[in-house]
């Protein structure tokens, strides 16, 4: 069994049997970006936010929440990982360590 082509993870969201799935992103504190923390089921955006509050911030883990319908997330295919991310490997000159400079000049 291989992975299906769409969506962030291998899941099929059945609207008939359960509330749809949402991905939850939290900003831990001001100055940080939102990070994915997990997912949950909810019928609408408002309840998704409230459920995310109850589920992922019971101990002050966040100051801001984003919820995104899981079906709206498009992901790269793990089988493409090689070709997709390969080009940078032979472009070592993009890294500062590629260059030999005098150490004492604080470059």
């Amino acid at each position: 069994m291989g992975g299906p082509a769409a969506g962030p993870d291998v899941r099929s969201v059945s609207e008939a049997d359960d509330w749809p799935l949402w991905e939850v992103f939290l900003r831990g504190r001001r100055g940080l970006s939102h990070q994915h923390v997990g997912s949950l089921h909810a019928p609408d955006p408002e309840l998704a936010l409230q459920n995310a509050r109850d589920l992922y911030t019971r101990r002050g883990e966040g100051v801001s929440i984003w919820v995104v319908r899981s079906t709206e997330v498009h992901a790269s295919d793990p089988d493409d990982q090689g070709p997709l991310f390969d080009p940078p490997a032979d472009k070592a000159y993009r890294h500062p360590t590629f260059y030999k400079v005098p150490e004492d000049l604080h470059l």
Partner: protein, 317 residues
């Protein structure tokens, strides 16, 4: 269907990645048996969290103080949250939460047999926190390094939250143990009843655990049942001493050669009976779960209908 050549080579590559400690992520190729083992284990874990709300939830209305009631409410709410993290982790493997809940209600997926024991007194809330959560944390700490990424991440979160569960249980028992002789006796009685079932939580001895070898090879399991059990015993014995409570095992003693505590034989017949449905509360636990599911159905439907109406309004406007 016999595996094709390419499946074999994919399986070899999968094992090599596991051996190199590469985490498996949801959309990676994985052997069917890895996927089904993972679904079964995560589902059983999720079911344990939500069924585990019942024995303690039983005491919320009778907690002896507002402080204890607030603590117990927070703990039971955490268990619901842990169930939700785990169902979400299982769903990354291509199953749906609803399916898993149906399998639980149909008795086709299990939950930890520990929750088939009754909570007879208030001290049981303490014994569950100290011993049952203590055993669960021992098991779950090892699982934070399990090979399946979403499961490992759920474990990290759960372990972080559960340390308060064990501490509140210890504190509750310490208070009772230092209280009146009747309170001390109540605490001792609870420990007597929960000690052996807590040891059974780690599962059958390694020699009788047929799935262990494959689970270890796939790094789903990182530490064997017997090793985890020993770890728990070694950690718990000094804590019992600090509580002033006895553990109900005359054979329990420090073995200087092994540098571990030796303990007496576990009654595996009892374990098999409880797992097989003959425990004191098996029927009740499933019945309560089924009733909650049925009685909540209208709420789920109403929320969906409301969302449908909102959608209608938006498109009409």
């Amino acid at each position: 269907m016999p595996p094709t050549y390419s499946e074999n080579s994919r399986e070899l590559a999968f094992q090599e990645a596991i051996d190199a400690d590469r985490t498996v992520e949801p959309r990676d190729w994985m052997p069917d048996r890895y996927r089904s083992t993972m679904v079964r284990q995560i589902a059983q874990h999720a079911h344990s969290e939500i069924i585990g709300m019942q024995p303690e939830g039983n005491w919320i209305t009778r907690a002896p103080s507002l402080r204890r009631k607030a603590i117990l409410l927070a703990k039971v709410q955490d268990e619901a949250g842990h169930g939700l993290y785990l169902y979400a982790a299982a769903e990354t493997l291509g199953v749906e939460r609803r399916e898993l809940l149906d399998l639980l209600l149909a008795g086709r997926q299990k939950y930890s047999s520990i929750f088939n024991y009754p909570t007879l007194t208030w001290a049981d809330v303490g014994a569950i926190g100290w011993l049952v959560d203590g055993a669960a944390i021992t098991n779950q700490l090892a699982l934070t390094k399990t090979s399946y990424g979403p499961y490992a991440r759920a474990m990290v979160r759960i372990c972080r939250e559960e340390s308060f569960h064990q501490r509140q249980g210890f504190e509750l028992l310490a208070e009772l143990s230092r209280g009146t002789p009747a309170q001390h006796q109540m605490a001792q009685d609870a420990v007597n009843r929960w000690w052996w079932p807590a040891l059974m939580m780690f599962g059958p001895p390694d020699a009788e655990s047929p799935n262990t070898a494959q689970s270890m090879a796939w790094k789903i399991k990182r530490v064997s049942n017997d090793d985890l059990r020993q770890r728990f015993v070694d950690m718990t014995v000094p804590q019992a001493g600090a509580l002033g409570l006895d553990l109900p095992d005359p054979q329990l003693h420090w073995n200087e050669t092994r540098r571990h505590y030796d303990f007496g034989p576990i009654d595996w017949d009892e374990f098999r009976q409880v797992v097989g449905g003959q425990g004191p509360c098996n029927v009740q636990r499933t019945a309560v779960r089924r009733a909650a599911d049925q009685e909540g159905a209208w709420v789920r439907e109403a929320a969906r209908a409301w969302e449908g109406r909102q959608q209608g309004r938006t498109s009409a406007a």
